[in-house]
Symmetry: C2
Subunit: 329 residues, 2 copies
């Protein structure tokens, strides 16, 4: 039987969703569904393609009450730049959650992943950083570093941004972009220590595998959001960081134990029973930060639930706006 | 950067691939890659959607030398018939295996899964049944029961087909279809015992959960292909069947242990170290059947490798024939 399917391109999708309050609350509203177990979210599927220096990751989730189920396929093929192609790509297929019938194909080239990841960082900061936080430090200088700062503007009155990256030139470039495009007082620092010295919030967005933010870098009142550890071999927070923090929050306990910061920390004696899910804090089941002196950490591994949420918003808004091609299959 | 993607419908796909020798050898050629470990095949991803009586299964595989990677999404939503929709559906996305870039969307509504599953049964029979096998028994009377017989015609000189199903009427209907459409001497039998009495090959294609073919039904020279057990709760071969067989072959040891016939049998004492992978027999590493008196069993759980193989053939032939719409994303 013929099925109508909407096909949207990256340009169309960028025209529909971005750094808005509704996108933020859509992402935020999903965490309680993860925390209370009502989101159905199988472990990430990963296909390694060593022959071509590539990997394919597949995430999905069903969220009660949401009209669509996103199946997100992310591809990282690291020889692509030699061929004039970007290393990272991806798309999402959206199935009708009541019938399983394909409803939309979102050829976003990874834009929606970038967006929902940045919005997740803003949700973490909104619930865990001190309310008056105005000084942000960023470790790493890739696309996500810039987007994290952009998303934080939705929830904090940011005044200064300090940037550090292994490649100093990239950090300088990012500071320049943040200054000129987002009108922030942004500068590059030569050391992690200097970058963090005055920070209220630090966001780590590196591909580090052995820790880049160390226990000695922590100071009272700091909130840390760690974005970069989304695979078994990655690690941004060095030994003792989780154990020293007053509160360690994760998007998904299962994923943090397998892919995130909890994995290495537990091997070093961190007590996993102290992990709190972000949804508990969002819903108020857990109080979150209880004093301005506490050190809080939020480890975000990225969930299929966020993909389903943002994809659902795209489909809803595309339908309303009449955007996208209809393919009859 | 704009990407061109081919979109093919079920009708177009049916016009390209079917029960042909090249399709059969394509499916056959993949088993040695599974057996020697060169196929990269993560465990099946499964999303349960209990709210809507549905499930989504995702399979994928990378095969060295194959130009595409299929990501297959199969949906089973069992309240769909009330809505005038089929229970089972599905599609495949094909990524370029060297770059990860989406190359094709195959909206086949599950046809390619049906086809490659049937062809897999024919591969099993070609390598494991007695060469002069002419009498086929089928347990189950669904779509796959019919397709298994059709595929067997590629490899055996079938003369008679005996059919049994829990719902006798369905078995009668299938026998009628096989007689009229495939010109076979097909009849329904009231009991499993009667159905198997003279059979050289029996194919089980039921959704049984506690065994339907029992040890007492086996006789010398019989080859059994079990198709139906593709989930943790399914089982078509009763206690003792695997242990009694002279040779037990599986498409994937990992999957048979988790989802297939080996799962329950091992709990009853079957020795898993005796399992042989179909690819070992196809490649000649294992001799397979060594006498006409042996009882052989092949348990097929269905692999992402087969999906990647059949999808690759569709894309290749569609490109040659200029079939399919090109979507620029």
């Amino acid at each position: 039987m013929p099925t109508e399917l909407s096909v949207l391109t990256e340009t169309q999708i960028r025209g529909l969703v971005g750094f808005g309050e509704e996108e933020l609350t859509t992402i935020e509203s999903v965490y309680p569904l993860i925390a209370d177990g009502s989101a159905v979210m199988p472990p990430i599927m990963r296909l390694d393609v060593e022959d071509h220096n590539g990997e394919v990751d597949i995430k999905t989730a069903y969220l009660p009450g949401h009209p669509g189920i996103a199946v997100k396929v992310s591809a990282g093929f690291f020889d692509n730049p030699k061929k004039g192609l970007p290393s990272l790509g991806g798309f999402m297929m959206v199935l009708d959650s009541e019938t399983g019938v394909p409803a939309a194909a979102l050829f976003d080239n990874g834009y929606l992943t970038d967006l929902r990841t940045a919005l997740a960082g803003a949700v973490a900061a909104r619930h865990l950083a001190n309310p008056e936080a105005s000084r942000v430090a960023v470790l790493g200088a890739g696309v996500q570093a810039r987007l994290q700062v952009e998303a934080l503007l939705l929830v904090s009155e940011i005044e200064t941004v300090s940037v550090w990256a292994r490649r100093q030139e990239q950090a300088e470039d990012l500071a320049g972009v943040l200054s000129s495009e987002l009108d922030l007082d942004a500068s590059e620092f030569g050391t992690v220590e200097g970058t963090l010295a005055d920070a209220d919030i630090v966001v780590t967005t590196t591909p580090a595998t052995d820790g880049v933010l160390e226990e000695r870098h922590l100071h009272r009142g700091l909130h840390v959001t760690a974005i970069g550890s989304d695979a078994e071999h990655k690690r941004e927070l060095g030994p003792g960081v989780l154990a020293t923090a007053d509160l360690v929050v994760v998007d998904s306990v299962a994923q943090s134990l397998r892919l995130g910061e909890a994995r290495a920390a537990i091997a070093e004696g961190f007590d996993e029973s102290t992990l709190v899910q972000l949804g508990e804090v969002v819903s108020g089941t857990h109080p979150g930060r209880t004093s301005s002196e506490q050190v809080t950490v939020c480890d975000l591994t990225g969930t299929g639930a966020q993909d389903t949420a943002i994809a659902g918003l795209v489909v809803e808004w595309a339908t309303k706006a009449g955007v996208g091609d209809v393919v009859v299959t």
